[in-house]
């Protein structure tokens, strides 16, 4: 019976169904805590437990989905390309802002991890958690971290960023829409950006530019913070 499920078809189909339900619930509830990725993950976990399907079978049969991380990262270039006019307008502030944000993120993660006594594997898994998930997973794999932990952390960061985006601007006295957008995109990638798009057009565009830029900066800088 189980060998029937031991094909990529099972992993892909189960993931698609779970994701579809996750999106549906997200649209119904309309709250960032109803994250489609988290819902899909939870549903798959429940199905595996209830039907007594070993985790190995899902892992093996869904591993083909992971092959698409590279093309997904590559097409991020298309979204940068689409924002090129806007990027040109405020090139220096955006570049320096995302660069500073990446350094701040790496430093603060390193320090808090050390302070709380988390080990190197956990640190390697969290280093990249502010950036977009495909790049974050690549960085985690490079330093021998646990990709699952990275995905969980990027969802936490993204959701926090989404929830707190308007509050953060008030807390840190940010009124410039460009600065607000870059801040949101640098610390909470696409999940934060969906909130930035609600706040305003400039905020949204800047936030989506910051996603890819901070991803590149974090790849370049991470080796210096992980020693």
């Amino acid at each position: 019976m189980l060998e029937v499920l031991n094909t990529p078809l099972f992993g892909i189909t189960l993931s698609i169904i779970a994701f579809r339900i996750g999106l549906w619930v997200n649209r119904k509830i309309k709250h960032p805590l109803a994250n489609p990725l988290l819902i899909a993950m939870g549903l798959i976990a429940i199905i595996l437990v209830v039907f007594d399907i070993p985790f190995d079978i899902y892992e093996k049969s869904s591993s083909v989905i992971g092959l698409f991380l590279a093309p997904i990262t590559a097409v991020l270039a298309v979204s940068i390309y689409r924002q090129r006019a806007l990027l040109k307008e405020s090139l220096l502030p955006v570049l320096l802002g995302t660069l500073a944000g990446s350094v701040a993120s790496l430093l603060s993660i390193r320090w808090t991890c050390n302070l709380l006594g988390l080990d190197q594997v956990v640190l390697a898994s969290l280093m990249s958690k502010s950036v977009t998930t495909p790049i974050a997973i690549a960085i985690t794999e490079q330093f021998g971290g646990i990709p699952a932990l990275t995905v969980a952390s990027t969802v936490i960061s993204g959701t926090l960023g989404n929830l707190l985006a308007p509050l953060l601007a008030k807390m840190f006295f940010i009124s410039d829409p460009v600065a607000h957008g870059v801040g949101i995109g640098s610390c909470s990638h696409a999940l934060g950006t969906s909130k930035a798009l609600e706040i305003g057009e400039v905020e949204g565009a800047m936030s989506s530019i910051a996603i890819s830029l901070s991803g590149v900066f974090t790849v370049l800088l991470a080796p210096f913070f992980f020693l």
Binding site: V75, G97, V103, A104, L126, G183
Partner: protein, 123 residues
Amino acid sequence: MKILIQLGLLFGVCILGDLVSFVLPFAFPGSVISMLLMLFLLLSGLMKESTIEESANFFLKNMTFFFIPFGVGILRYAALIRSVWWQLLVVNFVSLLVCFAVSSWTVVLVTRLQKLWGGRRNA
């Protein structure tokens, strides 16, 4: 056929990225090199946006789906998560505040400096 060609081009760029990553003397993810290659191709006009538009849109719109298997992997680390869950939340929260404050204030300061210099040049 159109989509197949687009996917072929996209995967080809990814293989090229992996190749460059393999040749580089230091560790650098091939996927990010592919992204930079793609950006170069688009900006230089060697590749038109319309050449890969449909498949790019497909991946950009459905990106989250592809993270599901990585996320479900968390089941394997349930014990680890249970032992460090509050630390994870603290790290996430602290770095979110620091990263937001630093990046947004850098933008504000750089913009102000630029205006200052621009103003002087015009005066």
